[in-house]
């Protein structure tokens, strides 16, 4: 059977187990911290504040024709999905090593470990989206396009699981992968059209942004979340194609690696 379909079947078959253990993963993540679950809300808020500070105060850039609130929503719409990606990719690198006991003691199907990670990341993303929606309601910037958000999240789920499979796999194969990935993601954060529009930059940066696959994820989300502007069909189609391709590729790769997970202990 195609590994990608097998992953989807496993997810369907173990959906209760996945949800239950996702909850535990969240508890574990914030266990021992003073503020506990508050960090789920505080984390994206703080990150957004830093980002806005850099663009609004340090570089004094705002999008053309946008109010401060409008710009905040604009940035947020790109930042929330990108943060989710960043977090899932970053955590994937050390994922198998940290969960080897699950693999060895047959507690959990190994292919669900990256899926579970994406689910925990999604919880953070939902919080971010909720904040965003509150801001949008406040600004009166809502449109019919918001109805496409669930579809967009499904596509992003495939996108994230696919990259998590790849990153987890490379994390096992190359012990140094995690460090490299960390810096690379930081670079991507600035080379992705989060604080600016794709069309607003020129020259070399323009090419990089156009070639950057994550630009399409950001633009696709933004065209759904920001009321103004047209629905960016082109970005959504490219994003969807990339998500499916990543998912199929990642599943196949992880499936191939599965037999080697414990060998690499």
């Amino acid at each position: 059977m195609n590994p990608a379909i097998q992953v989807l079947r496993d997810v369907a078959a173990h959906r209760h187990l996945l949800l239950a253990t996702t909850r535990i993963e969240l508890v574990k993540r914030y266990a021992g911290s003073g503020l506990g679950f508050s960090w789920i809300i505080l984390n994206p808020l703080l990150f957004l504040s830093v980002y806005l500070f850099v663009y609004l105060v340090v570089f004094k850039t705002t999008g053309p024709g946008l109010t401060t609130m409008g710009y905040t929503i604009f940035v947020f719409a790109g930042l929330v999905p990108f943060l989710a990606f960043m977090e899932s990719a970053n955590s994937s690198a050390a994922l198998i090593r940290a969960n080897l006991h699950l693999v060895k003691n047959l507690v959990f199907p190994p292919d669900l470990i990256p899926v579970r990670l994406v689910l925990t990341v999604f919880v953070g993303e939902f919080v971010g989206l909720a904040i965003l929606l509150v801001l949008a309601v406040f600004d009166g910037d809502l449109s019919w396009k918001l109805a496409l958000l669930p579809a967009m999240l499904c596509i992003q789920f495939l996108f994230l699981v696919g990259t998590a499979f790849l990153c987890a796999g490379f994390g096992v194969l190359l012990p140094d992968f995690g460090y490299f990935l960390n810096s690379f993601l930081m670079l991507l954060l600035f080379l992705s059209p989060i604080g600016f529009r794709t069309g607003a930059v020129g020259g070399l940066i323009r090419y990089i942004v156009v070639l950057n696959p994550f630009s399409y994820m950001i633009e696709a989300f933004r065209s759904v979340l920001v009321g103004e502007g047209d629905f960016d069909y082109k970005a959504v189609i490219i994003f969807t194609l990339m998500a499916v391709a990543l998912f199929v590729l990642g599943s196949a790769f992880f499936n191939r690696l599965r037999a080697h997970l414990v060998d690499y202990e």
Binding site: L17, T21, A31, L102, N105, V107, L173, L261
Partner: protein
């Protein structure tokens, strides 16, 4: 199924030619390329390590199987394949049913979460939540006995506490296949026992199949009726647990022996200053089956020859002349003793105690040009012993293979020279310690300071038996012999009663019994149970005698090579316990035991003819008496051999003068049992004070004999005499006295009537 031995439906696991090869890549990048499937299948990129060679196994549903073997033998690989954590390189694997694996423990707990949260998290992984999770949680906390700490973060736990909680959580499920890898030793002894019971409980459920990997082979055999011994990635033995256990125990000594042998070779190399023009050669003289020989054997000369040219000799009684390329004695892993004198000649003694390996070894460093012609060499051994001896000789070459080159054996004290060609003629035995063991599994272990020559079970009437009755008195009698005259200390004796040869039912041990190798080198150890508390079953007795403190302290050295163990034999005696009332199986028992040592009086051997040479009779004479409770007095020495010479025809063997007070009853019959091998014998009871016979029996034809001598009254002091005095027939006589019994035969009615008339 192809071989048709077990129907498919009964199988829990079926392996066919399962093979696992690990690749050891020459560069890390090759590993990645291999995972990605872009590495050519070419050995220049990787070495292959075969962790498991084409293993085929059938494991039935509900079967409990222990997998034993050394580190790196492939046990864990096998378990990981069965649990599908890793994929086989080739072969097929079928399993059915749910699997619970305990392959590693201790990981997976989040240090910041409390014990309770961690357990709930663990349970959630099995889809257990809500009320069911809370119930299971309570059971787990209770089992782990961590009630006080359960709401503390696990980072505050000690390692043992965390392990206990993890283990408790893991064994709350009853899967169809339980796979446990080396995790039984969690926690303290108390918790280990409890865990063990829990696993036994899980497995007692019908249909739960258990695969257990452990280094505690005794625990394994207690739980598992079947054991699979894996060595170097292949199944060495797959049989019932007692058989495998016996083989495994014997192999541990073989391995130790192999290790020491290797060490001897290494030191030889060092001796040769790494000269590549020299090759080492070891010659070993071993006791058959590693059983200590009867007495000291003297070696006056061991030399190596090529044709008639002496190549070198071993300095047995002195130093080598400098520059002489000769041999040396290998001190470690053998029983070389001091320099002694036999018949006016100096010799190096081979003791019958002092090492768990009953052998002596010598080594030679030979010029390399001899490597091709080793078969043309021969070894000359000049030896003498006061007692009969038999040793097998082995040649061990550079590649550590063992080749039998013959045996040396003798009976008389005369010096004998043996010439053994190194070509041998005996088939080579494989060098793997394990395989060697399969060929010849030795039964006796221990350094031989004390050995036991016989064990008997006595019932309430002190009759020898193999069937005891629950609740009645019983005794175990050991005939001991101290080989090391320097032994003068307390020793410990342990008896293991194992049901059906495996299940540990009771252990009885004596903390301290005093032994003295000089004043009482022989005698009996008597363990008496006033009330035998073993339930009805068939038992095997395993026993060992060890240094003081052995049983109370944790021993890090396996008993078969532990120098503190003087003597040990597994399953030496099988017996049955019957009962007339119901005793539940598995009932724990406490056996109150009184121990005593009864040294044999120093034996006297007297001869009619004073000029009889000393060497005609074995000094190995022992005869003892001990009081019986009521009816019968038993004297037994377990065997005493007398050999005569053709030139002397009138001599005898007598026991020490025995006192009448030793006897609790007034006997009227003496029963004398023995074996006449050759010649003739007659027996008599001699009144030691008046020097006249009170009873005597006729001469015998060869074969077992049993005399019933009627006596009117027992003299105050008397001896039992065996002789060929009355035969008047010169010739060789050999006879053995087994046992003397004094008994009271009930008088016949006519005799009573006669007494009344008198």
């Amino acid at each position: 199924m192809s071989d048709g031995s077990v129907p498919d439906a009964d199988l829990a696991i079926r392996l066919r030619n399962l093979r696992k090869v690990y690749r050891l890549y020459r560069k890390p990048s090759y590993r990645i390329r291999d995972v990605l499937g872009i590495l050519p299948d070419n050995p220049r990129y990787f070495d292959e390590h075969v962790a498991l060679h084409d293993v085929s196994l059938d494991i039935r549903r509900g079967e409990k199987v222990a997998i034993i073997g050394r580190n790196g033998a492939g046990k864990s690989t096998l378990l990981r394949l069965i649990t599908r954590v890793i994929q086989p390189t080739s072969g097929t694997l079928d399993t059915r049913g749910s699997t619970q694996a305990l392959l590693s423990i201790g990981a997976g707990f989040h240090p910041e979460l409390t014990g309770r949260q961690n357990v709930l998290a663990y349970l959630a992984h099995f889809g257990i939540s809500g009320a069911q999770a809370r119930r299971t949680l309570e059971e787990i906390i209770e089992f782990a006995e961590l009630e006080e700490y359960i709401d503390q973060p696990t980072k505050t736990y000690s390692t043992g506490m965390g392990m206990r909680l993890m283990f408790s959580a893991s064994i709350m499920f009853v899967p169809e296949l339980l796979v446990i890898d080396e995790v039984l030793g969690v926690g303290d002894a108390y918790f280990q026992g409890k865990s063990f019971e829990r696993i036994r409980e899980i497995c007692s459920g019908r249909g739960t199949t258990l695969l257990l990997v452990t280094h505690d082979i005794y625990a394994a055999t207690l739980l598992c009726e079947r054991s699979i011994w894996i060595d170097q990635g292949a199944v060495l033995i797959d049989a019932d647990s007692p058989t495998v256990l016996k083989a495994y125990e014997a192999s541990i000594r073989q391995q130790e022996e192999a290790r020491l042998r290797k060490k001897a070779f290494l030191s030889l190399r060092r001796l040769a200053d790494d000269r590549s023009d020299l090759i080492p050669l070891l010659i070993e003289l071993r006791c058959p089956d590693n059983a200590p020989h009867v007495g000291g054997i003297g070696f006056a000369r061991i030399a190596l020859y090529r044709g008639d040219v002496e190549l070198g000799m071993v300095p047995l009684v002195g130093d080598l002349a400098p520059g002489d390329v000769g041999g040396s004695i290998v001190a470690e892993g053998g029983t070389w003793g001091e320099i002694i004198e036999i018949g006016g000649r100096q010799a190096r003694e081979m003791k019958n105690f002092g090492s768990s390996m009953h052998k002596v070894a010598v080594s030679f460093l030979l010029p390399r040009e001899l490597a091709g012609v080793l078969d043309e060499l021969s070894i000359e051994v000049e030896t003498a012993s006061a007692v009969p001896y038999r040793l097998t000789a082995w040649r061990i070459g550079q590649d550590l293979d063992n080749r039998g080159i013959g045996e040396i054996a003798g009976e008389a004290a005369d010096w004998v020279t043996f010439r053994l060609p190194l070509a041998g003629g005996v088939t080579a035995i494989q060098s793997s310690a394990a395989s060697e063991m399969v060929v010849r599994a030795a039964e006796t272990h221990g350094s031989g300071r004390i050995t036991v020559t016989g064990i008997r079970l006595l019932d309430s009437a002190d009759q020898e038996t193999f069937q005891l009755v629950h609740g009645e008195p019983a005794s175990v009698v050991f005939d001991y012999q101290i080989n090391d005259p320097e032994l003068n200390d307390d020793c410990q004796i342990v008896m293991y009663f194992r049901r059906n040869g495996t299940e540990d039912i009771a252990r009885v041990y004596c903390q301290a019994l005093a032994f003295d190798g000089r004043s009482a080198p022989k005698g009996q150890i008597i363990a008496r149970f006033d009330r035998l508390s073993l339930g009805s079953a068939e038992y095997s007795l395993t026993s060992l005698i060890a240094e003081k403190g052995y049983y109370e302290e944790k021993q890090t050295i396996f008993y078969s090579i532990n120098p503190k163990v003087y003597w040990a034999v597994r399953n030496i005696l099988d017996f049955k316990v019957t009962t007339d009332h119901y005793i539940p199986q598995g009932t724990g028992v406490v056996i109150e035991t009184s121990w005593s040592v009864r040294p044999t009086p120093t034996p006297h051997v007297s001869f009619d003819h004073a000029d009889l040479p000393d060497d005609t009779i074995s000094s190995d004479v022992a005869l003892s008496l001990f009081s019986a409770k009521d009816a019968v007095i038993l004297a037994s020495n377990g065997g005493l051999t007398v050999q005569t010479r053709p030139s002397n025809f009138a001599y005898a063997l007598s026991t020490p003068a025995l006192a009448r007070e030793d006897v609790a009853i007034e006997p009227n019959v003496i029963v004398i049992e023995g074996l006449l091998e050759e010649g003739a014998v007659s027996v008599g009871i001699l009144d030691a004070d008046r020097d006249e016979f009170v009873a005597s029996g006729p001469q015998q034809q060869p074969g077992p004999f049993q005399y019933f001598l009627a006596i009117d009254s027992l003299p105050d002091r008397y001896s039992v005499i065996l002789s060929n005095h009355q035969t008047a027939k010169p010739g060789v006589s050999r006879f053995t006295l087994h046992r003397v019994r004094l008994a009271r035969r009930e008088p016949l009615v006519s005799e009573i009537a006669r007494e009344e008339r008198g």
